[in-house]
């Protein structure tokens, strides 16, 4: 019998290699496929900066490339944040929406959509970030701050209270969104529901830069947080006895997740599933060690969102599916398959 540890080390290498190749392939795929068919040679020429006849060069440089980059960054951010939260809550089924970020962002976006008809046109976009995105970001941050404040007392942050508070805040946000929907007209309603399904159609280079910078910050935090998160899985008291400053660790995780998910939601609406399932799938593959889990989750999230977005753009071309629906459609069956297989093995 091969031991689990040795098997995991082997899987780790396979997984890293497979995901890197998949990332390359899905990125190229995202550039190749779209509502307009472009020959691979043209794509290559456009990428190295050779002028192409007509608008082909524009399609690659101004539409597909920023969109593919944004998809990869947002997917990686969501997956890392999901892994952070699952470690923090010591629950492999935790999800960024659990602490109310997504619901809060939803309220912020809805407010902006309802008010934005008058305000938005007056102010215009801020560096490529629309007012709706800004509203979503602020809404997400306010809810996380609220959840965190209530859950933090003299004895430190209670993870259980945070979970319950997340549910309460999500319920409150849902009713607020419902109220806004009640007052919205048909056009606004459609924008709200589309926003909630998530989409990367607003991709632009400023957005790519924003997401890219945030991803770099998250990745830089990974080596320091990975080991500490491993001890946290044993329990807070146990982690403290292993010399970890647990309160500081929790605060850092919450800040990173709030910034990460808040930004991701602001840039691309609420894309469910990536943060929940990617870390979970990677964990089934290489085990729960965060030093392996976090970087591999980033890769996995980028691949999943790239594939999902390419599918969303091409399936009903020239119309587009909301990418949030596609992520669930692509990922859920794979997840169920993994769960079943692992259950049979153990």
């Amino acid at each position: 019998m091969i031991g689990v540890a040795r098997q995991r080390r082997r899987y780790m290498r396979h997984c890293a290699l497979a995901l890197t190749l998949a990332l390359g392939a899905s990125f190229v795929g995202a550039l190749l496929f779209g509502s307009v068919r472009l020959p691979p040679g043209d794509v290559l020429r456009a990428l190295v900066g050779i002028e192409l006849p007509g608008y082909r060069g524009e399609i690659i440089a101004a539409i597909r490339l920023p969109r593919a980059l944004l998809a990869a960054c947002v997917g990686a951010i969501l997956a890392i944040c999901g892994a952070f939260l699952q470690g923090l809550f010591r629950n492999p089924l935790a999800d960024p929406s659990l602490i109310g970020v997504t619901a809060g962002a939803s309220v912020g976006a809805s407010v902006m959509i309802v008010l934005g008809a008058s305000v938005g046109t007056a102010l215009g976009g801020l560096g490529g970030i629309s007012l709706v995105s800004l509203g979503a970001f602020v809404g997400g941050l306010i809810t996380v701050w609220l959840v965190y404040r209530v859950a933090t007392g003299v004895n430190g942050t209670s993870v259980a209270t945070m979970l319950l508070m997340g549910i309460a805040v999500s319920a409150l946000s849902a009713s607020a969104t419902g109220l806004l929907e009640y007052f919205a007209d048909n056009e606004m309603l459609r924008r709200m529901s589309l926003w909630r399904m998530g989409g990367l159609d607003g991709a632009s280079y400023p957005r790519v830069w924003l997401a890219g910078c945030l991803l770099v910050v998250l990745l830089l935090a990974v080596p320091a947080l990975g080991r500490a998160l491993n001890t946290l899985l044993l329990g807070e008291s146990q982690a403290r006895h292993l010399g970890i400053d647990v309160e500081r660790l929790k605060t850092r995780l919450i800040v990173l997740v709030a910034a990460g998910v808040g930004t991701a939601v602001a840039l691309s609406g609420s894309i469910a599933f990536v943060g929940l399932v990617v870390p979970h799938m990677i964990r089934l593959w290489v085990g729960p060690d965060h030093r392996r889990l976090l970087p591999l989750s980033a890769l996995g999230g980028a691949v999943l969102l790239l594939l999902a977005d390419t599918f969303a753009r091409t399936a009903l071309a020239p119309a587009e599916l909301p990418v949030g629906l596609v992520t669930a459609l692509l990922g859920a069956p794979f997840f169920i398959h993994l769960l079943r297989r692992r259950r049979d093995v153990s």
């Binding site: 689990v4 995991r8 010591r90 292993l242 010399g243």
Partner: protein, 259 residues
Amino acid sequence: MTLLNGDKLTLCIDDRPLVRAVSLAVRPGEVLAIIGPNGAGKTTLLRALSGDLTPTEGQVTFNGRALADWPARERALALAVLTQANSLTFGFTVAEVVSLGRTPHSTGAVVDHRVCRAAMKALDVLHLAERAYPSLSGGEQQRVQLARVMAQIWRPDGEADRLLLLDEPVTSLDLGHQRQLMQAVRDFADSGVGVVMVVHDISLAAAYSDHLLALKDGAGVAYGRPEQVVTEAQISDLFDSPVRVIAHPDTGKPVVLAN
């Protein structure tokens, strides 16, 4: 020099005193067992000694310095704690769980690996090293957790003397593994580590400890060598239940028999 010193420790939670003016001292190489009925304050006292709780009155001194003054990581190099609840739902392997004990150290992978193997061997879990932790039985998990905290302070890394705090380490173990675990703890103590543990089985505590501390309603009612503490009068009084105490035919240590 005493390794751990508790001076008239009192702990109140919601104004209710759970531990009242308990004093104790542990030297390197010494095993102290805390005994007493359920709800006597044994775990609360242990949590005060580990720094999880701050005493309402009195002070805990570790290596000549107030416990609260130790930086977390430096303290973790010399003080390891095994708490009662150790739930871990994530599928770490046994070897990975034990190696978490090396987190505060920066001794390098080779030393860490050697230490973890030695600790696993001492607790008879080396053959489980590659198994997934959640798939083990309760008793096996308990031994793995003990291996983890032992690996944490396996070698003296630094000036400070080492201390191991264990909350009911042998509960849920079978007879053979109870003995084996206590012997491992004893051997570990003989290498110069101070040990304080909460134990329910008084005969077991008497057989492997240098000193016993009996708690009742939060107060220390007896403190001394096993023969001094484990007497028929004191144990009967401690548990409000008549017992007989006989000497073990081979070791001469006191053995408690319920009437």
